[in-house]
Each structure stands twice: as structure tokens, then as C-alpha cells.
Amino acid sequence: MVRYEYYKPSTIPEALDLAVRFGGDALYIAGGTDVMVSMRGRKIAPKALISLRHVEDLARFDLPVLGAGVTHRQIQESDAVRDRFSALHDAVSHLGSPQIRNVATVGGNICNGAPSADTACPLLVLNAEADITGPSGDRRVPLEDFFVGPGKTVLERGEILKALAMGAFGANTASAYIKHTRRNAMDLPIIGVAVRITVDRTDVRCGDVLCGTAPISEILGHFKDEDLRCEDIRIALGVVGPRPMRVPKAEAGLRGRIISEETVASVAEIAASESTPRDSVRGEAWYRREMVKVLVRRAVMKSIDRILRPDERIYPDRLW
């Protein structure tokens, strides 16, 4: 075992003091499900770990603000997150295992900077901002600018992510995250797709079609016939580039338009063309790009379904 010291500060100033004292030799640790794995794999060997578990400021759970120290389990158990920030709820429900979710934090998932981080895409479409504090002061960074590359974020040495503040949004809005994996638990996504969409109204007379097993094209035909309009849309993709990313051209392709088979198919195509996936053990680039098309369409449908049938509480596993 690699030897290190372990500190448990209870305030942010104490934590920052320790970080300054150790310089590059210390690492912050929250739930530890990434840090402890890297230590064990000898990828990192800090002289000290500074635990953030006992810093009360980080435990804040005050929607739309989530303290960085909030665990995935807490998010999963929150009805308010499920109803209002559904994409994030989808993400934490299939992240790791109960053992991981019980300790792993949302801040840790973001700070680890993995292109596959499950909470990244939902937080991108939910318009989150990162609340950062450090030895040289506080700053706020939109999550889109937070990720720099694989394992790299804008955090400077000693800085702590305090909270993630999601954006406010109006009515007729819902979100969804679809994680494409080979197995349900303990797996990283082959790709991840998050969508948040706002439509112009909810009095669409096709509830019975949504309840049945009609193919997506038929449902989209109903939306078109009833002139259901997309007021706003945000789409984020994971594992299709060096960092979780939004696809602005695809979003522009649906914003303000009537939702139909043609417009949704075209958005999915544009999103796939904006993605830059690579071949990896989990999936080849061409496959990932094809699946972007499929899953963007499903995530749009799942989000709209949540707007039109808010009481259905669609289980994340349903094949939308």
C-alpha cells in the first residue's frame, strides 16, 4: 500500500490551508470511489489526502443548487430531482452500484473529468454552473467551460468545487438522459445522451398513442399534425469526444420548429456529425456515431413524454 497522511478538515478555509501547505503533494478526496481506485492502481501517489466529507458547506441540498458533496444516493432518493431535473435522476440511477452511490459524490464525478462521467451530460443540459473556491478567491464557471480534456478540468491547484447550480426554467419543460451500456450496473457508458426540451403547449391529443406501443415515427406524425413546437432544446453527448459536450448546431436545428419525423431525424443526424468519437474497447467510432442518431431521437421522445404525461414517471429503463 502507498503510504499517505489523511486529513479531515471541517471547513473550507482549513481544507484550503492544507492544500496550500502540501502544494502538489496533496489531493482532495470526497467519496473516494475514483481516488482510491487510482491510488490502488498506482496511477497517483500523493503524500496526503484531504477529505472533503466533513466540510458542511459542501453538503448543501437546496435545489436548484447541489453541494458538491451530495451523494448519488441522495440525488436518487430525491422526488424533486426526479420530477424536475429528471435527466440527472436518470444518470444517478444507473451509476455504479448501491455501494458506489452511497459514497460517491456529484462533485467528485464532475471533478474527475472523465468524458464518460454520467452526471456531466445531464448537468450540461440543465444549465449548471460550477461554484469554485480556492486559495486566490471564488469564481463561477459555466459547466460547459469546466471540462478541458480527459481527466482535466479548469480547477487550479488547491481549488475546490463547492456546488453545482442548475439553471431555472419555465413550464412545459422536461429532460432525460440515456446511458448506452452493455449491462445495467457497474459499467461506463458506450455513449451518453442528455436532452432538455421545452415545447409550446401540453394539450396534445395523443396521450393514448404514447401509452401504447406505437412506433416513434407514428407518434412524431401526431406531433406534426398538431403543430407541437419546440421552443427550446439543449443536447449534450458523453464519450463522443475528449470531454462531455453540447451540440449547438443540432440544437439550432429544432429550436423554434415543429416537432416531426423529419425535424427530429435531422437533429439526430446533425448531432452525430458534430460528435467526434474514437474507437475504444467499449465501442468503435462508427457504432458510437450511429447510436448518437438513435439515442438523440429516443432522448427527445422521452423528454416530451415526460412533459405530456408528467404523472407516468417513466422508469429510466423503458426503451424510448
Binding site: M1, R3, V103
Partner: protein, 155 residues
């Protein structure tokens, strides 16, 4: 540099000397001799090292020992009675043939225990989700799920 650590282990307050860089699993197995908790992968993937901390299932191989201070920790050794009587979950695993090589069993039972503390009558779907962080290398999942269903306290 040794540190003194106090926490509740299987219902008893203990004080032990630890090193800051240990994991909880290392303390349990190598220093306290509680070999029921297994080390499978050591990376939080397999769940063989699952213990309960303050009512929640946790991978002890990823749990820094210093974080155990003041906590309530339950291991597989804490489930049986002092006289050696098996916990209903343990008995159900025996009765249903849910044990093959046995290596995943303590972790499986601890995950099931955490689940049953929260849900007296879990559905099969909830049972599957409850043990999704536990790998059985013999792939004996069907009987494990059966055993947990039979032993759930609401049944």
C-alpha cells in the same frame, strides 16, 4: 505513524491503532482477523468486501479507514447471534442452495441485509438492483435472488 480510531463494530465499541493509509477492509481482515469480508477485485467492482456503515452498504476496499471514526460498522460476522445461530438471510442462502464457491456470499448477504433494512418486502426488481454491485463468479444469481426473496422480513 499510528492513530487511535474508535468506532462501533458489530455492536461493540472498539478502539484500535491504525495507519492513515489503510483501507477499512485491511483493518478488518489483517488486523482484526475478521476474514468473513473478502477482497475480490480491490477496485470496488465486485462487492465481495461489502460491509454496512451507518445503515448503508459500502465497498470496504475503497473506504479509507480514517473515515470509520465514530461510525457504526457491521460485517458478516455481526449478523449471526453470539451463540452462532444464523441470521435468516444466511439460513435462506443455505436452504436455497444460493452458495456455490462461497466467495461472493458475505458481500451478497451484506447487500441484501442493507436492502431488507430499508424495504421489508422488496420486489425482484429491487432485489436485483440491491445486489447489482455484487458479482457472483459462479453466476448463481437466480438462487441468490430466491433466497433473498424468501428471507425478506415482510414475507
Amino acid at each position: 505513524m499510528g492513530r487511535e480510531l474508535s468506532f462501533e463494530l458489530n455492536g461493540e465499541e472498539i478502539k484500535v491503532e491504525v495507519e492513515a493509509h489503510w483501507t477499512l477492509l485491511y483493518l478488518l481482515r489483517e488486523k482484526l482477523g475478521l476474514k468473513g469480508t473478502k477482497e475480490g477485485c480491490g477496485y470496488g467492482e465486485c462487492g465481495a468486501c461489502t460491509v454496512i456503515i451507518d445503515g448503508k452498504a459500502v465497498n470496504s476496499c475503497l473506504f479509507p479507514v480514517m473515515e470509520a471514526e465514530g461510525k457504526q460498522v457491521t460485517t458478516i460476522e455481526g449478523l449471526a447471534t453470539k451463540e452462532g445461530g444464523l441470521h435468516p438471510l444466511q439460513q435462506a442462502f443455505v436452504d436455497h442452495g444460493a452458495v456455490q464457491c462461497g466467495f461472493c456470499t458475505p458481500g451478497m448477504i451484506m447487500s441484501a441485509y442493507a436492502l431488507c433494512q430499508e424495504k421489508a418486502l422488496p420486489t425482484d426488481e429491487e432485489i436485483r438492483e440491491g445486489i447489482e454491485g455484487n458479482l457472483c463468479r459462479c453466476t448463481g444469481y437466480a438462487l441468490i435472488i430466491e433466497a433473498i426473496r424468501a428471507a425478506s422480513p415482510g414475507r
